[in-house]
Symmetry: C2
Subunit: 459 residues, 2 copies
């Protein structure tokens, strides 16, 4: 109550709006005010979540599927989860693709030589050891590429200089740009990074080769480098680029989804899943994508355990593996838990960063949404009451689809996300301790109440 | 006049202050209102300065002393200056140090392996090909280093994790940190980058080895990496780092200060010098440090020539070489022009970026300052009237000291400078066309009036 009063004083207008919009108080919800306050208080009382994320990212660094760092981190996580008193801690085996970057380099040869700030795209093939050298042709869209046609593309390195407008709009150049260029005879592809402008900061990420075009090596370059190539071309100057990549795909490696639970006291067979992905790209330390998601999910469950809050139904935290370049973890979870999905009441994914939380996105029935909005009112004190449209995530997606499971995603302030996404700058310095603590609080309250409330969350 | 009226409408308060502070209108100054307006108008009428800087940085990239890129850029600049109609265009020979970075890499070995974002420090020695591997010890100051003493430093790699407070305060760790650590037996040095926090952005720069300590390899790391090493040490975890650097110093190379002039119509022997430095660090494209300085200085003189404004005295633009790691250009200019320095009326250096100009810093007599303040009022329309304390620069410093020459530096908005200083992010994207145009206008008006006014600028 005191917490609410303090907030009322500070943001009286906003809170008044929230209260006006909230349903009439439910007696069932009243009984969750005290545990919600305990969970919020415990999350905000210290910096445990931030410190755990710092320890994870400092100790293991980045964690691409198949890497030793990922394997070591997953072993550490299981040991720590056991120390936390979590139950049924286990690794559920998943075979994952094992792409390695190798040494890589790109430069302007003419006019030059001058180095380009680059990162090879995940799943790309490599080049011969001496690299590939070719005239470059800069295009601003697929339409421009097609208009040029094979006569002006064959034998060249295609550079997509497409300004970032939004992830969905721009990422298709990363996904399919190599194959679209190769279909016209291009020998390599460079991509203006898919993300907001940084400080000469290339963004990696996966490409997908289509079956009807040759596979050509592909790399992202910083926006500054794409603009430089554009200006050189616009001056009518001959532009020659060299790309050298040691990238290669090794045989699939054994890895795992790491799972831990608090077993439900009345309906242990009914499950609420919280999770994120354990793997990251092989640059930076994967703090936002998605160390923060797995740590916040894990911390939410740890706090319940520490406070002795055992819900009626099972709470399960899942560290899905290989979200970045294969989604094998999400697919394996769906297959390994197929028989259980009908009893999955809710799956919550956190993979948009652990910045200041606003609430959740939700995909499911109106009846379920009404209940979740009621639960959301318990997060007024941390200003995270929103239950928006569209909740889900890549890792939970296969299970959600297969089992028609209601799904949520933690919704946070997204201002910084696509500045650091898939870059060397994805480190713990981007995350405020108070923000990840609020994320933990939101996840803990939402998942605890859904797992414990008298009624089963309707489909 | 119309320009002044427009400004008065927009920033009436500020202009009123300026006018109140300005001396009573001088008849000698009135005759410069028309040429000043022409110079300002020509500078702001197009993007020529920005485009020239883009062409320079796009075509030649970075330009460390001794590099082929610098030699090619200096040849291009002379050819372009001749095309501009500048007079007595020439290269004045200077022998410069020739440091090359070579391949380099740093990583945390334990707990790890995990890559560090690094840049070797200029003039550093290299490591053996296999690198050096040692326990690291993180310190926050020289005092902490000394308190640890030889027992805890010998055989280790010292990491200076000193937060950036200001360049002058923090750069001494870059300059002398390696030798201070080596004096206690350290085998290598890593430095938290001297600059404002970026996006995993290391800042290079020169170190100076002292004669009384062994020379050890030294590199800058991003602030995020320094913080990571600090946290690992603070947890009591064993910390082992490997540093591999191919850096080496080659024999001195022949280079030059590039000089061009408009010869004075009455006192050709009296000279006003405008300049910056042609070399840059070997990362980024040296757009701010100091491509912008040389282009803005050059453009100021080009505009006078294009407008047919030949001053009474000679205007000379100098592209000084090797400011970054030797200052040989500034020293050579002093020596080669020793007999002329008594007739150097003013030297103006631009090496703080070509961001929005505020005016100039000035070092010289009160009598000279009073005149320069009058001239500054001609820059009211671009809000660059300030004549602050302390004007000078590294390149003009030797001549200013030897000849007791009055000296100025262009003073600009400095918010971004130490975010990109000596980094890969020092590219043309950081510079607004309208800002560099205003810098050109300020330099042109100030230097033209000093070179043309009836009275000789007093010492």
């Amino acid at each position: 109550m005191r917490r609410l009063s303090a907030v009322t004083l500070f943001v009286a207008g906003a809170v008044a709006t929230v209260l006006a919009a909230a349903p009439a108080a439910s007696s069932w919800l009243d009984s969750y005010r005290a545990p919600a306050a305990r969970l919020i208080g415990a999350a905000l009382a210290d910096r445990h979540a931030w410190q755990r994320l710092a320890e994870l990212t400092d100790t293991f660094g980045n964690r691409l599927a198949g890497s030793r760092a990922l394997a070591e981190m997953l072993a550490w996580a299981q040991a720590e989860m056991r120390k936390d008193g979590l139950e049924r801690v286990r690794a559920e085996k998943v075979m994952v693709p094992h792409w390695v970057r190798g040494a890589e380099h790109a430069e302007i040869v003419e006019p030059g030589p001058s180095e380009l700030a680059m990162l090879g795209l995940g799943n790309s093939i490599g080049t011969p050891p001496e690299g590939i050298q070719a005239e470059a042709v800069v295009v601003g869209s697929f339409d421009e590429l097609e208009a040029l046609g094979r006569a002006h593309v064959a034998g060249r390195i295609v550079v997509y200089n497409v300004p970032y407008t939004g992830y969905g709009e721009t990422v298709r150049y990363r996904s399919s740009g190599a194959s679209r260029a190769a279909a016209l005879g291009a020998v390599g592809m460079l991509l203006r990074s898919v993300g907001q402008p940084g400080l000469r900061t290339p963004h990696t990420g996966a490409l997908n080769y289509s079956d009807d075009a040759p596979r050509i090596p592909a790399a992202a370059i910083a926006f500054e480098d794409a603009e430089r190539l554009q200006r050189i071309q616009d001056r009518g100057t001959r532009l020659v680029v060299r790309l050298t990549m040691g990238a290669r795909m090794l045989p699939d490696a054994e890895s795992a989804n790491v799972v831990a639970e608090i077993v439900g006291r009345e309906h242990p067979e009914e499950v609420v899943v919280l999770g994120g992905h354990s793997d990251s790209w092989d640059v930076g330390t994967g703090a936002t994508d998605d160390g923060g998601g797995i740590v916040a999910s894990w911390e939410a469950v740890r706090l319940m355990k520490a406070l002795g809050l055992t819900p009626r139904r099972t709470i399960r935290v899942v560290l899905f593996v290989n979200e970045e370049n294969g989604l094998r973890g999400g697919l394996a979870y769906r297959d390994q838990h197929a028989a259980e999905l009908a009893n999955h009441l809710l799956m919550i994914e956190t993979d948009g960063g652990v910045f200041r939380p606003k609430g959740f996105g939700f995909t499911g029935s109106d009846a379920a949404r009404a209940i979740l909005k009621e639960i959301g009112t318990l997060l007024q004190g941390i200003d995270a009451v929103a239950i928006g449209a569209g909740g889900g995530g890549a890792d939970i997606g296969p299970s959600v689809t297969a089992g028609r499971v209601p799904s949520m995603s933690l919704d946070v302030d997204g201002a910084l996300y696509f500045t650091i996404h898939h870059t060397a700058a994805d480190t713990i310095e981007r995350i405020e301790p108070g923000d990840i603590a609020r994320c933990v609080a939101a996840l803990a309250v939402m998942s605890y109440v859904v797992a414990d409330m008298p009624q089963r969350l309707p489909r």
